[in-house]
Symmetry: C2
Subunit: 156 residues, 2 copies
DNA sequence: CTTGAAAAATGGCCCGA
DNA sequence: TCGGGCCATTTTTCAAG
């Protein structure tokens, strides 16, 4: 049985954890106006019920030697569900592809790609993506700079 | 003076924190084969030197009532740096735009948009984005499903 | 919500490569 | 000298009242 309604405090908790995923429960409780135990209970419930899917450190890709970011718009020859699934399965095996979104329209998939350098990026494109089965068309665009990069959702 | 080289343990720490941003320092220390104090010292250094930019809870947008995700490809009339900056500044004030990447090529910016429903999405498009100064062309694509959504970088 | 015991975080200090 | 490990104190977590 899963709750459907979140009250104001639940939403505050989610907003705080989205902004700072490593805040201590004591600080979180103070921010939302609770004592620590009920606050922790709420966090656990939000985790169990799937409102919180996980916690991640945001790393600086460039400082870690990943100089190239790019997006690829991929069109497939066949859009049968089994072929879409097959492509998604293949994508899952490509570590350089961090995100894959299936789109409505002429482009079937939008991929976010991260590579150490231009050479690795190009090798992935020519050696993996454009030659994969059922891939009809690939259009790529290098990222020049990240103007905004906020996690999650606007307001909770 | 900032360190440029990360050793094997630093990379392990980053990989673990990227996968689980809320792991306790003791568990992290055990995983990377250190005792807690030096492990925490390394984490603090990685934070201070900017390898770790922050920690975030990954929230489930749909469960939180954000049913619509979309990407918008935006072309500007003027690509003078001051006009690019002006657009980026405007984007910063739009909460529905979670990410904005400046691209090389015919499209100037790729925006990731999250909205509560189709109506809110449409109102943002017609009322804000397409009518913003210097915006020449907007092409949008709704996200049908998220096939892959991994944080950060492939391997560290 | 409060309490209290167990665990974790964190600073000090010494040690070895 | 730069880190790592040990120890002690403070803070946090978390189950029970």
């Amino acid at each position: 049985m899963r709750r459907v309604k979140l009250d104001r405090i639940d939403k505050q908790i989610l907003a705080e954890l989205q902004a700072d995923g490593r805040i201590s429960n004591v600080d979180l409780a103070r921010k939302v106006g609770l004592s620590a135990p009920p606050c922790l209970r709420r966090v656990r419930t939000l985790e169990e019920e799937g409102f919180i899917r996980g916690y991640h450190a945001e790393v600086d890709a460039e400082r870690l030697g990943y100089a190239v970011s790019a997006f690829a718009m991929v069109g497939l020859s066949s859009q049968a569900e089994s072929d879409l699934k097959a492509f998604e399965e293949r994508v899952r095996g490509w570590p350089l592809v961090r995100e894959c979104h299936m789109l409505a329209g002429e482009v079937d998939f939008l991929l976010k790609i991260v590579a150490r350098d231009f050479d690795a990026y190009q090798q992935f494109l020519t050696g993996e993506l454009t030659t994969a089965p059922n891939v009809a068309h690939v259009k790529t665009a290098l990222v020049l700079r990240h103007s905004k990069d906020e996690p999650g959702v606007p307001v909770i």
